[in-house]
């Protein structure tokens, strides 16, 4: 059974700085984008061959705008590209000009860019994608949040067939990130669907491959439900290597549908797949296969995702509400949490403790020496509980002033071993400082209902994972701002209670950084934000897993990893040995 994680998803965009002036994106008019050789750690590849990677489920759609889960994004990410990518490279854009008032970006498209059906990509396609699809109120997409600034969307205009102007009402630091996260779609194939109000169902899994086109390195060849998706190289893709060889190198990427974790591992061990994002417990087994060409790569733990335990600060129980709102209690809990124990038990020691919010590596200061730290220390935890006035009863358990026990329920998701193990270890740790935690695994839908289904929320505490995409700070606003739609632990002004001073400060910092176009100033604001959040532990930050990748180095060259276990990085330079 597929492992279900309670994961709060944020759209994948990055923290690119927006600076005035012109951004050179290999501005050779009419020439394709040349991928620098330095990016190819295994050198130039040769065209041909295929690579097989198991997909965790049938894709639900081939529409990159409406897709909202990993089995679909693993495929759409290979078929579509944005004007620029997260590192500032661009297949489709030739130059970016940022106006002195820093609210307008003029994008010159690369001449000769085409969709995978051979039709040229023009400024009209960009305008169509943004004005008619992303900003269309009848079309649902998580990309909307990335583009919205001061409650509205930028104005997008085609100046000529190859030039687009994007004008934001105010200066907006996330503008380049938004551009980098938005695939450009073909007007000639989707105009009718938009006009008929049918876009949300467009490019469903029954669509013929020749009715789908994108600007990515691959295009759809075939899909057989329950069996596999086959992608073939896009012959019109606009990148070449320094030798002038057109990319992608691979002829095909095959994605068989394999839902079971153990079967995916066995298939990789059997040589049926070339790339496999392993679970931590798979790593010892896979390392033993190095003689068969299996390479296990362990990278630094990510700085973006957040594995947390959150308390409902608007709990209906007055004692718990007061307790959960008390920063000393949350700090005590943070001290009492044995993060290394969780990392050993759940991640096979392949993880790192975290004490603050996840954010793009560009702004991450979580490993600075002066960053607030809550190393496992039961004495300090007990001292803080004493300071709050939670007396210890004859049974060794803490009590409120009215004599009732300090006890709460911690929700986890039924079927998720990691979340439930964490919860049990956490309950055990807190038991040692006299706090009774009752772990209650529930169906995923039931947990979400308790978190977001009513106001105020119904839960006491929950173990949840917040998936931060690529960590764009603007996306953190929905989680950490007091009025954010995903600020599920509340204690905000929505319930007649005053917002804590530190929370007001967080709100201000996040607003200021959103409008700051100076990268240094933004970094300073975000550093203050991280410290403030870490000091106050609105949620208890636990750990992050190290990035794990396994691939067959005897068969695959230039493999640089996957994102969120599904999306291939740099698929265009991957080659078959």
């Amino acid at each position: 059974m597929k492992k279900q994680l309670l994961t709060l998803l944020l759209v994948c965009v990055v923290g690119l700085g927006l600076l005035g002036g012109s951004v050179d994106l290999q501005a050779q008019p009419g020439s394709p984008f040349v991928v620098p050789a330095v990016q190819m750690q295994d050198g130039f590849g040769q065209q041909g061959g295929s690579v097989t990677i198991d997909n965790i489920d049938n894709p639900k759609t081939f529409n990159p705008i409406t897709q909202n889960e990993a089995s679909s994004s693993a495929i759409t990410s290979l078929m579509h590209e944005a004007l620029i990518d997260t590192t500032g490279q661009a297949t489709l854009a030739q130059s970016l000009d940022i106006a002195p008032n820093q609210t307008t970006v003029t994008i010159r498209l690369r001449e000769g860019s085409s969709f995978s059906d051979g039709e040229p990509m023009t400024a009209n396609d960009v305008v169509f994608t943004l004005n008619n699809i992303i900003f269309n109120p009848t079309i649902s997409s998580t990309l909307k949040d990335a583009w919205r600034v001061s409650g509205t969307f930028p104005r997008v205009t085609a100046l000529d067939s190859l030039t687009v102007e994007i004008a934001s009402p105010v200066s907006f630091s996330g503008l380049l990130s938004a551009i980098a996260s938005t695939p450009i779609l073909p007007q000639h194939l989707l105009q009718d669907d938009v006009d008929n109000g049918n876009f949300n169902a467009a490019w469903g899994i029954g669509t013929s491959p020749n009715e789908i086109a994108g600007t990515g390195p691959f295009r759809l060849k075939s899909f057989v439900a329950g069996q596999q998706v086959a992608l073939e190289r896009n012959p019109f893709y606009g990148k070449v290597d320094e030798n002038g060889t057109q990319l992608p190198y691979l002829n095909e990427i095959i994605l068989p549908v394999v839902a079971d974790d153990n079967v995916r591992l066995l298939r990789f061990s059997n040589g049926q797949t070339e790339i496999y994002p392993p679970r931590p417990e798979d790593v010892p087994v896979l390392r033993q296969q190095s003689a068969q060409g299996v390479a296990v790569s362990v990278q630094e733990a990510g700085t973006v995702d957040m594995n947390v335990i959150a308390f409902n600060q608007d709990s209906a129980d007055a004692n718990l509400q007061t307790l959960f709102r008390d920063v000393r209690f949350r700090q005590a809990v943070s001290f009492a949490t044995n993060r290394q124990g969780m990392i050993s038990a759940n991640l096979n020691s392949l993880g790192e403790a975290r004490f603050g919010p996840g954010i793009s590596p560009l702004f991450w200061i979580g490993d600075d020496a002066n960053f607030p730290s809550f190393q496992f220390d039961l004495n300090q935890a007990s001292a803080l509980l004493d300071e709050i006035g939670l007396a210890t009863g004859s049974d060794g358990m803490r009590q409120f002033a009215d004599g009732s026990p300090v006890e709460f329920t911690l929700l986890t998701v039924q079927g998720s071993t990691v979340l439930t193990n964490d919860a049990v270890l956490f309950a055990n740790d807190l038991g040692r400082i006299g706090v009774q935690v009752n772990v209650r695994p529930l169906d995923l839908n039931a947990v979400i209902d308790q978190l977001l289904g009513s106001l105020p929320p119904q839960f006491d505490a929950v173990r949840i994972t917040i998936n931060g995409g690529d960590g764009d700070p603007n996306l953190l606003r929905s989680v950490f701002e007091s009025t954010g739609s995903l600020h599920f632990w509340k204690f905000s002004d929505g319930f007649g209670a005053g917002v804590a001073d530190w929370q007001n400060e967080v709100d201000d910092l996040l607003e200021q950084q959103a409008q700051s176009l100076d990268l240094n100033q933004r970094a300073n604001l975000l550093a203050d934000f991280q410290v403030l959040v870490a000091e106050n532990q609105p949620v208890i930050f636990l750990y992050n897993a190290q990035g794990l990748q396994t691939f067959r180095e005897d068969r695959v060259g230039n493999f640089s990893g996957t994102v969120e276990n599904a999306t291939l990085l740099n698929p265009e330079i991957l080659f078959r040995k």
Binding site: N68, S140, A225, Q227, I254, D260, L266, L451, L486
Partner: protein
């Protein structure tokens, strides 16, 4: 007899209706709905999902519309997952080359049924004719083990043996049809390019390679039980006086067992074929989950995990129909093998 058949078929309609109401109500009892997880992304996406699927309507409106769709146009609704019609999702997606879920379900269910009887008959006869010996015990122990091992464990165990012990992936050859090197794989029905390749001897052999673990897993679910039934029936018949008479006439033991005893022992077992039918479909569900088989059961299991309401409902009606047809088949086979039984 025809009247009886028609009456039995007519009885299934209210039965299916009752089943569908109960299933629909049970599905509504579970917390949240198909769209609930989208709340973690944004309220707008959640609202759009609710509007698209219509799950905010009262359960009776939803149920009424669904039933009316079936009655008026054989429309079983659509999949919340991908908007496809339920019938496509469950039964007919795929091409001639790749096969469709219904075809694979029938191939696997009936294939496993044939396999289980082919294995069970000789084993049951062998156990009966060696009653009380260590051979009889061996078959019994084998039966108990087969009965005790859960299907999912057997499935993953077979895959593990193939990959880790026998290292089947190291057996590779150059495929003339695909023009590439192909190695033996596990799970699914085909290796790589064969999924969409046109039918050929090469593709058929590849299918057989992938089918046998699935058939074995599904057949094992019933093998032990059938062995025990065969043994028991054979023991009953072998103790009949006419068998003693045959022996006393000097007939060889082989003729006595095969010609006289087996024929009569099989009569009641034939009637049980119908009862095994739903059981085989059930076994296919577990095999589909682990072995990644693109069957009706596989599509149903995915829908069940994701709360894809109408696909689950249609799937359950399908399995109910199999159960009903299986029972009906049993009744008719019973009348066929025993002329004393007549239905009115």
């Amino acid at each position: 007899m025809l009247t009886y058949l028609l009456r039995r078929l007519l009885y299934t309609i209210p039965l299916l209706l009752i089943i569908s109401v109960i299933v629909f109500l049970v599905m509504q009892l579970s917390p949240g709905n198909f769209c609930t997880t989208l709340k973690l992304q944004s309220e707008q996406i959640y609202n759009e999902c609710v509007e698209r699927t219509g799950i905010d309507q009262s359960i009776w409106v939803q149920y009424g519309k669904w039933i009316w769709g079936i009655v008026s146009g054989f429309d079983f609704g659509f999949s919340f997952q991908n908007g496809q019609p339920v019938m496509t999702q469950l039964f007919t997606s795929g091409t001639f080359e790749s096969g469709n879920p219904l075809v694979w379900t029938l191939v696997l269910s009936f294939g496993a049924m044939i396999l289980s009887w082919l294995l069970a008959l000789p084993l049951g006869i062998y156990a009966a004719t060696n009653q009380g010996t260590w051979r009889d015990w061996a078959v019994n122990v084998f039966g108990f083990i087969g009965l005790s091992i859960p299907n999912f464990f057997l499935a993953i165990g077979i895959l593990w043996m193939l990959v880790v012990v026998f290292q089947v992936g190291t057996n590779c050859w150059q495929s003339e049809q695909l023009g590439q090197n192909v190695c033996l794989g596990v799970s699914g029905l085909f290796d790589g390019g064969y999924v969409t390749a046109s039918w050929s001897g090469e593709k058929f052999l590849n299918l057989i390679w992938h089918l046998w673990p699935a058939l074995l897993v599904i057949a094992a679910a019933n093998l032990a039980a059938i062995v025990r039934y065969v043994r028991s029936e054979m023991l009953n018949v072998l103790s009949e006086p006419y068998v003693q008479t045959a022996r006393s006439k000097g007939l060889s033991e082989r003729v006595v067992v095969v010609k006289h005893a087996l024929k009569n022992a099989l009569n009641p077992l034939i009637s049980m074929l119908g009862y095994w039918l739903p059981s085989m479909f059930e076994g296919t569900l577990v095999a589909a989950m682990i072995l990644q088989l693109p069957t009706v059961e596989g599509a149903y299991w995915t829908a069940l995990r994701q709360g894809d309401q109408y696909v689950v409902m249609a799937g359950l009606l399908f399995f109910s129909m199999i159960l009903i047809v299986g029972n009906l088949l049993s009744d008719f086979l019973l009348a066929w093998v025993n002329p004393k039984i007549r239905y009115q």
